[in-house]
Amino acid sequence: MSHRRIRFYGAAGQVGTIAVTLLGLLLLTFFIGRLMPADPVRAIIGEDATRETYEQVYRSLGLDRPLWEQFAYYLGDVFTGNFGTSIRTGQPVIQDILHVMPATIELATFAILIGAGLGVPLGVFAAVNKDRWPDHVVRVFSLFGHSMPIFWTGMIALIVFYAHLGLVGGSGRMDQFYIGLVEERTGFLLIDSLIAGEMDVFWSAVNHIILPAALLGYSSSAYITRMTRSFMLDQLGQEYVTTARVKGLSRNQTIWQHAFVNIRVQLVTIIALAYGSLLEGAVLIETVFAWPGFGQYLTNNLITGDMNAVMTCVLIVGVIFIGLNLLSDVLYRIFDPRTR
């Protein structure tokens, strides 16, 4: 019974923490909107409007009211799903974001699969061979991925694999020829084309996503490799690993059935965080590959000072990271008996 009560308080505490974090995040986005040198009134009425019009719009936006009241209005808007209209596109911000997000999610998901698929085995391999040549090779390989500017590798890769070798598609999500051919249902091109049964479009999309995803995956695998290596070294140095060997388990069984199993929660956490930064931070690769995604959208809004859109983008990034942290907390509770 007391156990259940502890668990209840644990869950309640978690909800409280999230609520406070969210509130902080909203405060932050609110003040970004207020403190940025962009004038929302001017953005709406233009440079040539009269003083009276300015005053009128100023009042209708509620800018004459005290800050806390404005914040309350902002909260109300956010919770009713009203994020305002983008000045740049003239559309509701949320609609714009729903349009660009799937492209980024598709790219980031592909990339993280490559990154984790490469980084985790390499990290284990490096840890098991600590200070021997495989470890050094892996270190150089991942240092390379970590330190190359991705826009540069992106351009080089385009020149080599697209222009010269013709192995992959070029920029954009699919060949020009196919654009508009598939009805947009989910926004995920790979899924939409499959639903529509357009295999040509599907393969064109795969051809286009593979290169940017591989580059992003490679660069995030650098981080994943290093973390996996250090998590594994931590476990391999523990006495229970010796116990497993004494019981008669082979080296590989001990590595995968004992040590690796014990790092899975930490692994999921860092992979989730890497995924989060791919979702927000793929700006450079999206630019190089003309990928109509979230990173590009956010950057364009920052450049044009489209504050409603910027605030909403920041809010979304924040919510993604809160969600990822929550995920890792929950995983710890499930997989690590010591936290129960």
């Binding site: 006495e239 116990t243 060997r245 004494v246 019981k247 008669g248 004992h258 008996p337 010591r338």
Partner: protein, 278 residues
Amino acid sequence: MEKPILEVDNLRIRYGGASAEAVRGVSFTLGRERLGIVGESGSGKSTVGRALLRLLPGATITADKLRFGELDLLTLSEKEMLKVRGRRMSMILQDPKFSLNPIRRVGDQVAETYLRHFRCSKAEARDKALAMLEAVKIRDPERVYDQYPHEISGGMGQRVMIAMMLLADPDLVIADEPTSALDVTVRLQVLNILDGLVRDRGIGLIMISHDLNLVRNFCDRVLIMYAGRVVETLAARDLDRAEHPYTRGLLAAQPRIGGGRAPLAVLDRQLEWLEEKA
């Protein structure tokens, strides 16, 4: 004399890159008896234990003879060693806080030994593990089986360890400081359990320890190690009649209840103790 379980002759161990050998020419034989290996930290006693299981990564092991039953431990392949470890020879490690996998149920960890060495169903391995937990005098095996290492006490953890290492009925068990991490109050209890099982099952025991009194009470024979060598071998009951100055020094350095309040004797180390006997 019956055929010995273990014959060690001129065992030498050098860790990779080290300039000196950690173990320099250790020889002994072991029957179905309880052998204590006593020595200070760094004397090489644990290294000997791990070398017998061939669990010393990066170390070079040489010997004139290293026989375990009908097996030659020096030439056995790693694959064959896997069938020896846990099944015919096992080792009880020092501190259950670290030697048990923190995120696995203790019962499953015990059962793993059985699953590793016998073809059987999980249910059968579970039954074996439960019986073994009962044999190490755990009162409610069903409940303990499903607990995690952090939920049980050190004494109980070490009994789980014993269960794990004796489950496959080995010929030889090495106990590497099995009670140093335990409270004084549960030490005897755990040792008695280990002792009872080892005697009942006719298992050879090597008890590695730095505790002279413990070895005196729970072993038949004692090897005294100093700086990688055996300086003296004697029957446990003759410990008081030890001749080597190192052993004598160790005995003299022990406090006695009711003894005088004079400062305890301190070892006066002699360089000649380091020399190898011809």
